[in-house]
């Protein structure tokens, strides 16, 4: 146990975490140059394309330091705000963390909130200044910032470049020297923290864990404490580049467990497992159920594909424990699913995975947060879809969720950021200068205002500098209204949204304009109307198509023309007929683009 070091890397997206991880694996010969695919740890295509680690993984390295061989467990963490709970569990499995800061960009909100998490878990922080090889690097300024932030010595900061392989040995030595070995009772009852799970279509769910006390042997009978479920440890082992089956995983180490679990839902990140025969009296603290923040309907474009969609969703859930859903019916779209997501990115990922991995064409309805409604009969309702909203005369009041948002920016952009947050009904709570040029702003903002385009806007007005992190801050009463959209007089429930009254007119107007752009002209005129209750607040018209025929069709035009019309037909398949109007898939997401 004295030779084990468990650590993670805290870094903002783009600050070079994956590249640095690659270098550590190379240097310790965990992986040969030949096996090295760029950014090894991100093994979903989608992750590599988006350049973010969605699901965390762990990997074990052996490192000889002063003649002694050490086991270094690198626990990878996701880098997006949607996945902050998973980050906190990864952190709980470590004794130390590399704080990786880009020498040209400095610390970001996400980094700082994760850093605080790590400090709260008593992790030893090793500050690393990365990308020092970049021409835009400002090592001295950023070092000042890191010293201020951590209260560390300048000399503690390790200059590095993942890309150029600079500082890798220093980092490995620091991991051994500075991060304490795990503590725990090897003889005590088993307590293992589940901090991740991976879906393998042949072997079921692979549980990734850290042994806090005791040890686990192959064939042991174990019990997951939060779910109460019991399993047999069919296979256990440690995680190299591939899994390395072992007879025993010792106290302090990180490993994987395979026990024929089929559904990701059964494995809750943060749960503890113990032996059935000699159970631990209590679970490792910090477990909480992941709660979805954003809700939206997902429907097949082709109604006949509902059962296929259900199968796809079930398969998706096998390795996405955070995704929750239940069947839902829409007057406009028929049968589909109401889904809960950790955030907008999570929602986009689910939609993309459905399309890529399962070849499903789906419509996602207007995303919503969960509101609380007290009815005139004093019944408290949780409303996560506009269609569930009671009639206004049955509502006593509506509450909406708020968040504490933490924004770190260059001080130059304070003005525009303040304006943005005010516009989003936010209230400034605090303003802290991290350095003379970098400031942390804390706002109380309705979650509904943040889920849509807030992050993109924040990035735009701050030229990419500002970063955001947030946590839920409870509910507050708000003057919300349900805004409906009608096409040729027929309400399309999938386009309804719950919005704040002060913004409803603007919302309605912009939404109608956007829909006018997105709905292609058809053989008849289409009236697009936005309404609150019976009152029409905005209207746009899509003019009827007058002709659709190309002038020439001779010998040389036929194959080109056939291909053109085939393409049109394909495009039509991505549309959904509501009443007599054909609505393209993108139109249902129009609300996300209204600004």
């Amino acid at each position: 146990m004295k030779k084990i070091r468990n650590f993670c890397i805290i870094a903002h997206i783009d600050h070079g975490k994956s590249t640095l991880a690659d270098r550590l694996l190379e240097f310790t010969k965990t992986v040969s140059q030949r096996e090295m695919q760029a950014q090894l740890l991100d093994n979903m295509d989608l992750e590599r394309e988006r350049g973010i680690t969605i699901k965390s993984h762990a990997i074990q390295m052996n490192y000889v330091y002063q003649g002694e061989e050490y086991i270094l467990n690198l626990i990878d963490t996701p880098g997006h705000v949607d996945f902050s709970y998973e980050v906190s569990r990864s952190i709980a499995a470590c004794e130390g963390a590399l704080l990786l800061v880009d020498a040209s960009q400095g610390t970001e909100a996400q980094t700082i909130s994760n850093l605080y998490l790590a400090i709260n878990h008593d992790l030893v922080i090793i500050p690393v200044l990365n990308k020092i090889d970049l021409p835009g690097a400002m090592p001295e300024e950023i070092k000042d910032e890191m010293v201020d932030l951590l209260g560390c010595e300048r000399a503690d900061i390790i200059p590095a470049s993942g890309k150029e392989g600079i500082g890798i040995e220093n980092i490995l030595n620091a991991i051994v020297e500075r991060i304490p070995a795990p503590v725990g009772d090897p003889e005590g009852p088993l307590q293992a923290l589940i901090f991740d799970s991976v879906f393998n279509s042949y072997r079921g769910i692979e549980v990734i864990f850290r042994v806090k006390n005791g040890s686990i042997k192959k064939g042991d009978k174990v019990k997951f404490m939060a779910t109460g479920k019991e399993y047999i440890a069919d296979e256990i082992g440690t995680l190299g580049l591939q899994q390395i089956p072992k007879q025993v995983v010792e106290c302090g180490d990180v490993g994987y467990l395979i026990s024929g679990i089929k559904v990701a839902k059964e494995v809750k990140v943060g749960d503890t497992f113990t032996h059935i025969d000699r159970p631990a009296t209590e679970a490792i603290v910090g477990f909480s159920e992941v709660k979805p923040m954003v809700f939206a309907g997902i429907y097949p474009v082709d109604t006949s594909e509902f059962e296929e969609l259900r199968e796809a969703m079930e398969k998706l859930q096998l390795n996405d424990a955070a995704l929750v859903w239940e069947p839902e019916t829409s007057a406009a779209l028929g049968f589909g699913f109401r889904c809960g997501f950790l955030g907008m990115l999570h929602m986009e990922i689910v939609q993309e995975r459905l399309e890529r991995e399962f070849d499903m064409t789906v419509i996602t309805t207007v995303p919503s947060v969960q509101f609380r409604v007290l009815t005139t009969k004093d019944k408290l309702l949780n409303i996560s879809a506009p269609s569930e909203m009671p009639e206004p005369n049955h509502i006593k009041y509506i509450e909406e969720p708020y968040i504490n948002a933490q924004i770190i920016t260059k001080s130059d952009y304070i003005g525009p950021i303040l304006n943005l947050c005010m516009d989003k009904r936010g209230v400034l709570k605090n303003q802290i200068y991290l350095t003379a040029e970098r400031v942390e702003l804390q706002f109380l903002i309705p979650l509904a205002e943040v889920v849509f385009d807030f992050f993109d806007k924040l990035k735009t007005i701050s030229r990419g500098y500002a970063s955001l992190d947030y946590e839920l801050a409870g509910y507050q009463e708000s003057d919300m209204v349900k805004l409906d959209v009608m096409l040729n007089g027929e309400a399309v429930d999938a386009l309804s949204a719950i919005v704040h009254r002060s913004k409803s007119y603007e919302w309605g107007k912009k939404l109608c304009e956007k829909l006018r752009e997105l709905i292609p002209r058809q053989m008849f005129e289409i009236a697009i109307q936005a309404a609150i209750g019976q009152k029409i607040i905005a209207r746009e018209t899509v003019k009827a198509m007058r002709k659709d025929v190309l002038a020439k069709c001779y010998g040389g035009d036929i194959s080109r023309k056939r291909k053109l019309l085939e393409k049109q037909k394909k495009g039509k398949k991505r549309m959904r007929q509501v009443g007599n109007v054909e609505i393209p898939q993108e139109a249902f997401m129009a609300v996300l683009k209204i600004n």
């Binding site: 053989m523 198509m545 007058r546 002709k547 659709d548 025929v549 190309l550 002038a551 020439k552 069709c553 001779y554 010998g555 040389g556 036929i558 194959s559 023309k561 056939r562 019309l565 085939e566 049109q568 037909k569 039509k572």
Partner: protein, 374 residues
């Protein structure tokens, strides 16, 4: 059997045209020789049978001189059996037509002219960068008739931006006085790889307004009908059955051989098209190679092509043939669409033949694509 010969040269580029042509005529003779060689190379492409139509298209085939035209026709006669009453069409521009050239064409055996008049309105001709004048446009038809060629088609372009429909009316009036048996009328279409296309992209030109184009089409169809021209295809009108037999072959799925750069061929099972580059075409043919890309047609492709071409014509499409081409898939996949479109009054069925209604003609492409099978 049908033969198309693409003559890829023009005096100047019209602003709307995206056919393949070059304004550099230095290798014209060599290209003509290559085309003749291609005819020899490809003489077995089509099944045996008389050549019923021959069509010189372009480009501007009226730029061929006597020797070139003779050489090509001679080669054709040598390698194919040309039907005694074959329709032999030459596309011509008004500025190439005079007593001498017309006599030469007639002597060579050309018995049908397709004249690219496009408009009789001088500003519109200039707008489109045509090489001829309005006066030439009016005179050339009479010259051709005097030379003994009566089987004449003229091309007109409508929906050229204008404040009202007056110019269209006057263009049509002038066309009617010429007493030609065939008129092709095309809606001005802005293609990407043209001057208009580039202007549109740079916002130097506005797109053709759909409502305006639709109104012009309606005026045109009505007026031509009143003057005895039958709309036998969306853009083609004929008096007393003077249809273009060559073009009709495209719409009736007859096999045809196309020679020359960019020319397309069809043999029932596949379509192929030559490279759209004169120099590369020359180079290949000189090596005895045919620079063509071949696309095999699936049953769905054949069905869909039949739909998109056939529906445009007065002959419509035969349900039996659709089922034959698609091996029964059409009946299965398109039943509800057919019913929906019939209900909307876009198509009608007449003893096993599907036809567009007058209203449907405005939406021929959409109707065809909605009926496409997978």
């Amino acid at each position: 059997m049908h033969l198309y010969i693409h003559i890829p040269f023009c005096k100047q580029a019209c602003h709307y045209c995206d056919f393949h042509f070059s304004t550099n005529t230095t290798n014209k003779r060599a290209v003509v020789e290559a085309i003749a060689r291609e005819i020899v190379l490809r003489k077995s492409y089509l099944p045996d049978g008389d050549m019923e139509t021959i069509y010189f298209g372009g480009g501007t085939p009226s730029m061929l001189d006597e020797a070139e035209l003779h050489f090509l026709l001679e080669t054709i006669h040598k390698h194919f059996r040309v039907a005694p009453n074959a329709e032999i069409t030459l596309e011509a521009n008004p500025d190439d037509l005079n007593a001498a050239s017309l006599q030469m064409f007639a002597k060579a055996g050309i018995n049908r002219l397709s004249i690219g008049i496009q408009s009789f309105h001088e500003p519109h001709l200039r707008f489109m960068n045509r090489a001829h004048s309005a006066v030439e446009a009016e005179q050339c038809v009479t010259l051709a008739q005097n030379a003994g060629i009566d089987n004449i088609s003229i091309d007109l372009i409508y929906a050229i931006p204008s404040e009202d429909h007056d110019i269209l009316h006057s263009d049509l009036f002038k066309a009617f006085t010429l007493n030609v048996p065939h008129i092709s009328a095309y809606c001005l279409t802005i293609e990407p790889q043209t001057a208009f296309g580039s202007w549109l992209k740079k916002k130097k030109m506005r797109p053709i307004e759909e409502e305006y184009a639709a109104q012009q089409f309606e005026i045109l169809v009505k007026s031509l009908g009143e003057h005895g021209y039958e709309q036998y295809e969306i853009s083609n009108f004929a008096r007393n059955g003077h249809y273009s037999n060559h073009n009709s072959s495209y719409w009736k799925q007859h096999p045809y051989l196309g020679v020359g750069p960019s020319a397309h061929s069809y043999n029932g099972a596949s379509r192929e098209y030559n490279i759209s580059n004169n120099a590369k075409y020359l180079e290949a043919i000189q090596k005895g190679l045919i620079p063509a890309t071949i696309e095999a047609l699936t049953p769905a492709d054949r069905t869909n092509e039949y739909l998109l071409t056939g529906l445009r014509t007065k002959w419509g499409v035969e349900l039996l043939k659709l089922d034959e081409f698609s091996a029964g898939a059409f009946a299965l996949q398109s039943e509800s669409e057919l019913e929906r479109m019939t209900r909307k009054g876009w198509i009608r069925e007449d003893s096993g033949i599907l036809l567009l209604t007058e209203a449907g003609k405005l939406f021929a492409d959409r109707i065809a694509s909605d009926l496409f099978i997978d």
